[in-house]
């Protein structure tokens, strides 16, 4: 095994997060009575260190472990997004964990391990590394989804997620096997070289492997027709974990998908564009139309997150610089606005009453103005109303689509986002323009950590919306370095 050098810096974020995870486990079993805030603080400090470590590879790209790992701008940006998402998730959880669930040290540790898996997915340039990261992430999430052990929805969520996730992993693994069988390698550079010389349709077996991988990734990013698990799982999982799944896990899926697609792209473009086109269109239409009819806000956000995956696929399809940088910008803003939206739910919920139906939100503006304003901001941003970040993000993606010639797909995207405005605004109407029902009052105590997390998310969508150019130009450097 020549060239198999240990490059600790290349996997520094992953290493730091893994060690952090073990440390949390050890602390949890050694000091079962430890104050949750202390442990949370330790996790956040660990995240900060991992964040700085991820930034290291921005200017200093390196290949490590015989090409299994590539630490570059791409992995750096994605790792930062994951860690930001995880940080906010921890922020949302700090107060909740103890009150609602036991074993908060396990909860924190699982979030940390999941994040470690995500960073591996962003830096993997070998199908096996990608798979390893995906499984690390998934297994942690299976457990987290069922963390409210006494809640039947949670059991359902965990069970379904596990069964289907394992099923989808099977597809993925089979796809990897086929591709390995044809190209003799799982290394993305070698696979890319094969695609360059033979074309993606050069061998039916290879293309079959490609399709199986699409199924696997499609499950992770929850696009049609592999999306059915998402609403049930988001509904049943603890709210911060739903947020984490809808953002971090989805972003990780896209990171892996992008790495893979870039390898597939180095050829005459044919074969897969139609497939992605259809999947993207169907995902946008279904996600948005079904979301219209949801009265449970968590389910509504789940369908909306399905629809957003459809929008992001436009960037994948476009495959140009704007598209790639647009995806990363979108995922960054999406992380903030979605965690924020779930955060508000989490902020308002108590152990006895989960704050999730539309009627719960009635008249919130007068009883909890902070929560109502924050929720409205997140809804507007998700709907893509300027000047919030969601608009900018959509604009970049859609213009990438137009530039690459997918005008009809962009038209579908625009129409469906018009539709989406209806249900996002529906929630705002409930909060600001309806009077609250007497018995449903928001009784949740003020939770400073959650409030801070929500404020950060709100500030972020404002800044990213009003001053996006700096970030976008950074991501464009990134995208250019990929091509």
């Amino acid at each position: 095994m020549n060239g198999f050098e240990f490059d600790w810096i290349a996997i520094a974020p992953f290493l730091i997060l893994s060690v952090l995870g073990f440390a949390v486990v050890v602390l949890g079993i050694s000091f079962p009575k430890m104050y949750r805030g202390t442990l949370g603080t330790i996790v956040l400090v660990g995240f900060a260190v991992a964040f700085l470590a991820s930034l290291q590879s921005w200017d200093d790209a390196r290949l490590a472990f015989g090409g299994m790992i590539t630490a570059d701008k791409f992995s750096s940006a994605f790792s930062c997004i994951f860690i930001l998402g995880a940080t906010l998730t921890i922020g949302l959880s700090i107060n909740q964990v103890e009150e609602k669930y036991l074993l908060y040290s396990d909860y924190f540790a699982l979030v940390v391990f999941a994040t470690a898996g995500m960073t591996l997915m962003a830096s993997g340039t070998n199908l096996l590394t990608l798979f390893l990261g995906l499984e690390t992430l998934s297994i942690a999430l299976y457990v987290l989804a069922g963390f409210r052990r006494s809640n039947e929805f949670a059991l359902e969520a965990s069970f379904k997620y596990f069964l289907l996730g394992a099923f989808a992993s099977g597809f993925l693994l089979y796809g990897i096997a086929l591709i390995y069988g044809i190209t003799g390698s799982t290394d993305l550079t070698k696979i890319s070289a094969y695609v360059s010389s033979e074309g993606i349709l050069g061998s039916k077996m290879f293309f079959a492997g490609f399709l199986l991988l699409l199924v696997g990734f499609g499950f992770k990013i929850s696009v049609f027709p592999f999306h059915l698990w998402a609403p049930d799982v988001y509904q049943g999982a603890p709210t911060p974990i739903s947020a984490f799944m809808a953002t971090g896990s989805k972003a990780a899926g896209f990171a892996a998908l992008m790495r893979f697609m870039i390898a597939m792209q180095s050829t005459t473009q044919s074969g897969w564009q139609d497939i992605i086109w259809v999947i993207a269109a169907a995902t946008m239409i279904l996600g948005n139309v079904i979301a219209l009819r949801q009265s449970n806000v968590k389910r509504m956000l789940a369908y909306s997150s399905i629809a957003h995956a459809g929008y992001i696929l436009i960037g994948v399809l476009a495959g140009n610089t704007i598209g790639s940088s647009g995806i990363i910008f979108y995922l960054l803003t999406y992380t903030f606005m979605n965690i924020g939206a779930f955060g508000v739910i989490s902020y308002l919920s108590t152990a006895e009453h989960e704050f999730i139906t539309l009627s719960d939100f009635r008249g919130l503006a007068s009883s909890r103005p902070f929560a109502a304003i924050a929720m409205a901001a997140f809804m507007f941003s998700l709907a893509g109303i300027p000047p919030l970040a969601g608009f900018m993000a959509k604009f970049y993606l859609f213009s990438a689509g137009v530039k690459a010639g997918y005008v009809w797909l962009v038209i579908i995207a625009v129409v469906t986002s018009m539709i989406s405005l209806y249900y996002y605004l529906g929630l705002v109407v409930q909060m600001f323009m309806r009077d609250k029902e007497a018995d449903v009052a928001a009784t949740a105590p003020l939770q400073p950590a959650v409030m801070i997390a929500i404020s950060i998310a709100m500030l972020a969508i404002l800044i990213l919306g009003i001053f996006p150019s700096r970030w976008v130009s950074l991501f464009q450097d990134l995208a250019r370095s990929l091509m």
Partner: protein, 637 residues
Amino acid sequence: MQDYIWLIPFFPLLGFLINGLLGKYLSEKVIGILGSAMVFLSFSTAVVLFFQLTQLDPENRLFINTLYTWMATGSFSADVAFRFDALSAVMVLVVTGVGFLIHVYSIGYMHGDRGFARFFSFLNLFTFAMLLLVLGNNFLIMFLGWEGVGLCSYLLIGFWYENPEYAYAGNKAFIVNRIGDFGFLIGIFMIFGYFGSLNFDTVLSAAGMQPEWVITTICLLLFVGATGKSAQIPLYVWLPDAMAGPTPVSALIHAATMVTAGVYMICRTSAMYVLSEVALSVVAIIGLLTALMAATIAITSKDIKKVLAYSTVSQLGYMFLAAGVGAFATAIFHLMTHAFFKALMFLAAGSVMHALSNETNIDKMGGLKNKIGTTYRTFWVGGLAISGILPFAGFFSKDEILWKAFSSPFGSTVFWAVGTLIAGLTAFYMWRMIYTVFYGESRVDKEVALHIHESPKVMTVPLIVLAALSTVGGLVNIPHYFPMFEHFLDPVFMKYINPAAFEASHGSFGLELTFAAISLVVAFTGIWLAKVMYVQRRELPDKIASSVKGLYTLLFNKYYVDELYDKIIVKPFVKVSDAFFYAFFDVKIIDGIVNGSAKIMDSIAGVLRRSHSGVVQFYALSLVVGAIALFGYLIFG
């Protein structure tokens, strides 16, 4: 000074933030004064800028205030930049000037409403968005404002949300506007795709280089947006329902400013429209048809605000007619005079409603002439102005439109003839209302009659100011003798196009005078007919109505357009979404199908049932089916 353009939208934004965030803690007085003062500050800034603008040569009258680069992708970049040229100047002055008066009026009108602070913060937010719309230097800022005003309109229509019918009206406005916005947004994407820029100057100067079909498509898409926002066929249905909002909102948003956004947008992009004869004709014909249709509906309507609403739709149709024959300056001129007299009439109508405990049915009014004198006199001025009586503001702008509709190279005799007919109808329905409301015997409910009172000064003073503007506002543009307004605006419209194309193709000064005389006669005939029917021989209207019963019912039911839309669009959509998407894919229904009988048994333990359901197999199946479909593509594709 041009670096301070941003102050114009900034003040209302500040007002919105203060009133929105701290409104709970402030008294009505502070809120009202603050909200109005912020708009007045914008107005003052705009006035100063306006005078500085006039100091420059006509060709150079352009201030641009770039704040920062909003976004940049490769060769494309869009700035947060404001543009203050003759066109923006007129729009800003109208928006802030009329807006200020309406803010002041609202202090009295909304007095005691529990949403007082919310109302003023929304109104300020609206002003902010509208100013962004007219000041933006590229399509994106314009779109930002476009969405913003739509949002505020929606929030303000449903302001009194306790009434479900009002909330429904808000919904309707929202959905209809979505359809329009969709066209607008696609248009913007096409501009981006073909021009690589969204900057007005860059796009408009390059418009000549694009193939005609591209320009036509873009123009038509933008016009779809305009029909939504400016309530033209086929998307006008939301505006009459929008009258559910408080009357100052109807005056500001649904008469004077927001609904004119479509006209403004077409004038702003006029350099593209003149390149496409198809697009121009579509604009003119839709405008004319809308004007005619709305005017006929207004004849039978019995709701004081609905008559004004249909009249607004009709007048907007006039503006589009003007724009459609290439007379952009005239369109903006009418936009301005219309803002004066329509705001006046709405506010006066609000004052009537104020006096009559919010009664809107004109059959329950009558004889109010002496009881609310100021309101009556200002309404009377508005009536003369909209009917186009010399020398009121409406005469000059409307007459100019009719003349251009005939003489412009894009015009025709038919345009002029129908337009003149509509002018007669306008005079008729407007005076029908005035005579019914203010003359004759009182048909007011007894209890209400006891409380009739003139509105407070804070409401009547804005009325008087607007009445003055409606009287003299037209004098800024007297054709041939004093065409100041046109000369001020023309450089904006002629910048990228050849002025020779707009020389009147036919017609002479003598003919123009004749036409003016004809339209005066028509207007007076309309007023006279109204007087005969509604003052002297009150039995006539019913007789006529029953003799042409079919036509009357058709008009009274607004051509059944709402019902038609409901049948062919709304119902099928709901059906499809229910039957297909929802029933087929939503889990609850799938549960029902899969578990059929089990569902009934388990309905008590409804929650438990879900965790025991076999649905997960279905999910797995969908994964497999999806994979198989992909393989189908592999084999057969």
